[in-house]
């Protein structure tokens, strides 16, 4: 017995780090990605760069790059940072004539700045690096009539402001499995090519922050919980989101190559931004890797973000967003507090299963739309905004959409339990609530107690609707739908780790029945969780946990076992075991140390 204990201890110490265990290693993954992208044929700065870096299809790549510089039908912020990123990576091997054309792009093409946070990050990254690359040039040499110096200073000023805002009150387009790429790719490009060591350091810190922010809500390649914005396909099928490829590259999860997957490939066949990461000299700090992948102990993580810029119908430009995530090795349950925090693409809450299967999630929403909601954020006429948004997002006004913010939805989460209250005004165009239940759940049953029990792998979900509902069968999912204007959903999530067998989980819940009281504008739900916590939640009213109000104002910028930051401090501290990494955005310093045991 004693011998086996010694052997076990020895094995524990000999086991290499989690990173080394994951196969293949980061270096192998990044090489693999560059090779794969170099073999692609779609026209983009990413594929061109990969081809020329590897020497594959050089002539074709040069032609493609040439066409990218002459095609006036493309332009704007997506073009700007990618073009200069390619140029700076490849300039030693480009013919002078092509280099001149690329320079000319910044003279003759309108690099449109756009109207979102991600647009501006891409735009000002492109402008900063272009002005740095071609300094001391006069106003006539730039598309916007400003000199190199003017452009450089403006871009530097805004980028520094964005770093400060993002590290003190959070991003507006936070935790987006799709838009993550539009932040991390320009930031890594900036890190790679900024000559100013302070800007380079800040870009490195911002990359750390973006990855750490992802890492605490990461599970097996999935970006879990509430998102500021995302597309329905990626919400229903989380590993189809572009962020999953970054998780594969940097976190080593999921452990399969996403581009081989039909769930990923059709949607993102041209989205090879990640190859800029693979070519970057940025290396993910080990501590972030550990935070992203160690799921040995369940934890609660909370965050504060900000609402995207409100231009009208509000009294505050960026009200806070409160996020709550409960993470285990089998599942994550995460939420935003509800209401309109983002137009069009908000994803307020979900359960995500750690599974290699597609459609590994359950969530509900109210499919709200309104021109006024859009006019809060866009300076266009509200009568037309819905139609205009529909032209691109296709489903904004669709009653069956799977992404939406709604003023009639609010949440209250405590660990692995969430209450979702709906209180929909009469006369609203889509007066129903929808829930997404994938068909590939291992089990889904409606219990006589009223609970809907679901299982995917080792994860169990119990779902209770206080008011009537119906099921609609669709291709990949069951659509749970309730036409009750006032309703509440109670969701309890567990796993074999916490509950033992699924039957035991069911038994623990069958006797529990939530109660909905009150009416009008203030319905109240009361519920005692299976772990004995009493939750009382009033729409537009307090959230009481065991009789004590939950005060969102006390939320930190980050608060959890791995990530901590006081709001507006600009200091973000990562902790993993005795390892600490501190980012001080004000001083532009990174410190690392080991805590004494």
């Amino acid at each position: 017995m004693r011998n086996s204990a010694v052997i076990l201890l020895t094995v524990l110490f000999l086991v290499p780090s989690v990173e080394a265990r994951a196969q293949p290693s980061f270096e192998q993954r990044r090489q693999r990605l560059i090779e794969v992208v170099a073999g692609e044929r779609d026209r983009s700065f990413f594929t061109v760069t990969a081809k020329l870096v590897t020497g594959k299809d050089k002539e074709f790549a040069i032609q493609m790059l040439d066409s990218l510089t002459t095609d006036q039908s493309i332009g704007g912020m997506f073009y700007s940072y990618a073009a200069i990123g390619s140029y700076l990576r490849l300039r030693d091997q480009l013919p002078d004539s092509l280099k001149a054309k690329m320079r000319n792009s910044f003279r003759e093409r309108t690099m449109y700045r756009g109207d979102t946070e991600n647009h501006w990050v891409m735009y000002y990254t492109g402008l900063y690096l272009a002005a740095q690359t071609w300094p001391n040039e006069g106003r006539s040499q730039w598309y916007n009539g400003k000199s190199s110096d003017e452009n450089f200073r403006e871009a530097e000023e805004w980028l520094n402001l964005w770093f400060k805002t993002s590290s003190t009150i959070g991003q507006g387009e936070f935790d987006s499995p799709t838009y993550f790429i539009t932040f991390i790719t320009p930031v890594l490009t900036l890190y790679e090519f900024a000559s100013d060591p302070v800007m380079k350091r800040r870009a490195q810190m911002m990359a750390d922050l973006l990855f750490a922010d992802f890492a605490v809500e990461h599970l097996n390649g999935n970006y879990c919980g509430g998102h500021s914005r995302d597309y329905p396909e990626d919400i229903m099928n989380p590993l189809s989101a572009p962020a999953a490829l970054w998780a594969w590259l940097y976190f080593g999860e999921p452990q399969f190559e996403l581009w081989q997957e039909t769930r990923y490939r059709p949607r993102h066949r041209g989205g090879w931004e990640t190859v800029f990461g693979a070519m970057s000299s940025y290396r993910l700090p080990e501590i972030i890797y550990s935070i992203a992948t160690d799921r040995s102990t369940p934890y609660v993580h909370t965050e504060t973000k900000r609402v995207r810029n409100i231009i009208r119908f509000g009294l505050e430009k960026n009200p806070p967003v409160y996020k709550y995530t409960y993470m285990t090795r089998h599942y994550a349950l995460g939420s935003l507090q509800g209401g309109i925090l983002q137009p069009i693409q908000q994803h307020t809450w979900d359960v995500t299963f750690a599974s290699d299967k597609p459609y590994n999630t359950i969530f509900t929403l109210h499919p709200f739309y309104s021109g006024k909601e859009l006019a809060m954020f866009f300076p266009e006429e509200q009568k037309f905004l819905s139609d205009e948004v529909d032209r691109y997002h296709k489903i904004y006004t669709n009653p069956n959409k799977w992404n939406s913010s709604s003023p009639f939805e609010q949440t209250f989460q405590h660990k692995n339990t969430i209450l979702v209250l709906y209180n929909i005004d009469k006369g609203i165009t889509h007066p129903h609530i929808d829930g997404f239940f994938p068909k590939n759940l291992d089990e889904r049953s409606i219990d006589p107690s009223g609970w809907i029990f679901c299982r995917m792998g080792a994860t169990y979900v119990a779902f209770y609707s206080l008011r009537p509902y119906e099921w609609i069968e669709e291709e990949i999912n069951w659509r749970w739908r309730s036409f009750e204007l006032m309703n509440c959903i109670v969701v309890e999530v567990g796993s074999s780790d916490e509950e033992g067998p699924f039957e035991q989980f069911k038994r623990n819940l069958q006797a529990r029945s939530p109660a909905l009281t009150g009416g009008g504008r203030n319905p109240t739900i009361e519920y005692t969780t299976r772990s004995g916590d009493h939750m009382k939640f009033t729409f537009n009213g307090p959230r009481l946990l065991n009789g004590k109000p939950v005060n969102f104002a006390e939320y930190k910028f980050f608060n959890g076992p791995y990530l901590h930051s006081e709001r507006k401090s600009g200091v973000v501290t990562m902790t993993y075991k005795n390892h600490v990494r501190e980012l001080d955005f004000d001083k532009a310093t990174i410190k690392e140390w080991q805590k004494l045991q």
């Binding site: 039908s73 332009g75 704007g76 093409r109 309108t110 449109y112 756009g114 231009i311 009208r312 300076p379």
Partner: protein, 339 residues
């Protein structure tokens, strides 16, 4: 006596016809030196960040039938402005990338603003001093007194920050009106202080000062039709007969005899009594919305309307008949006649 009267009236009629023809001839000559400028904000299907679209500042010579984009494609354009004194001419684009200015007839442009002002929804120019500029933005009014080199936010007295339009008073260049989210505001000190004029409804989308009777102001509102004051903003009333919907466009003939209004599914409306009562111009083009109206300064029967996604329509007979003259698909926010 009667014959004399008839003869006299014929002479008058002939004289009127001759004058009218001469006027038209003179107008065409004059127009040969002037061009229509249209601010195209959006094209149907265009996505910010997507492929470039044919949006921006468009120019159409009066003798031409084609609109030419005189900037580059891909610039959301909310409004335009023009300043002229002697040989000095300045053109302005209020756009998504900022306030653009050209001093060489549109050949080159310089963005005068920075990240601090975000989108520019409209520009207002001091009629005397070209170095004084005002812009309306989603985050308030900004002013420059050094030709756009520096900008200062001017919001003292304003309760909300969204400002869609600015109008400089015709009699006092330090007096401006701001069409804001919650009201029409007025400043009498060049933007240093603003006071609410108490229109009575929120959502002021457009504003117009009568060219002669400057105490007459009109505002187009979100969902509450057009409201009018004849006493400089002390009292307001709703324009009669108008639908209670959103009015984006207001325009006056140069003599102020005719006022026009248009908006969301409204058709084109006309008032000949300072905005008190309105009648529908019929027939009007079957368009979803009117974003902008233009009345030719030399011929009040010559009208243009810019629509939301259905191009520009032109009438030479005061709205009796209309012809689509291009920019199909475009959201045309403003139409002007500039050199």
């Amino acid at each position: 006596m009667a014959k004399t009267a008839v003869r006299a009236s014929r002479i008058v009629a002939i004289s009127v016809a001759v004058v009218s023809s001469l006027s038209l001839y003179a107008q065409r000559l004059e127009d040969g030196r002037r061009n229509y400028y249209a601010a195209v904000f959006l094209n149907r299907g265009h996505v910010s960040g997507g492929a470039s679209s044919n949006i921006g500042l468009f120019k159409r010579m009066s003798s031409d039938t084609i609109w030419h984009n005189i900037y580059r494609p891909n610039l959301f354009t909310f409004g335009i402005g023009f300043w002229e004194r002697g040989a000095t001419r300045r053109y302005y684009i209020a756009g998504g990338n900022g306030l653009h200015r050209s001093t060489d007839e549109g050949r080159t442009w310089r963005v005068l603003t920075t990240w601090k002002t975000e989108e520019i929804l409209s520009v207002a120019l001091d009629p005397v001093d070209s170095s004084i500029l005002y812009v309306a933005t989603p985050f308030g009014v900004f002013k420059s007194t050094d030709d756009g080199s520096h900008w200062v936010r001017k919001m003292k007295g304003m309760k909300r920050w969204y400002v869609q339009r600015l109008v400089v008073d015709r009699t006092d260049r330090r007096k401006l009106y701001a069409a804001a989210e919650d009201d029409l505001y007025q400043t009498t000190d060049g933007g240093e202080h603003w006071r609410q004029l108490g229109v009575g409804v929120p959502g002021i989308l457009s504003a117009l000062q009568h060219p002669q009777q400057t105490a007459v102001l009109l505002v187009g509102t979100e969902d509450h039709g057009v409201r009018v004051t004849t006493d400089g903003g002390r009292t307001w009333s709703g324009g009669q007969n108008l639908p209670q919907t959103s009015f984006y466009a207001l325009r006056s003939s140069s003599d102020g005899q005719a006022l026009y209004a248009g908006g969301y599914r409204t058709g084109l409306w006309k008032s000949e009594n300072l905005g008190r009562t309105w009648s529908l111009v019929s027939p009007a083009p079957n368009v979803e919305a009117i974003y902008s109206i233009f009345v030719h300064p030399d011929d009040p029967k010559h009208l243009l309307i810019g629509t939301c996604g259905q191009g520009v329509y032109e009438s030479f007979d005061g709205g009796g008949s209309w012809k689509n003259i291009g920019l199909q698909g475009a959201h045309v926010k403003q139409i002007e006649l500039y050199p």
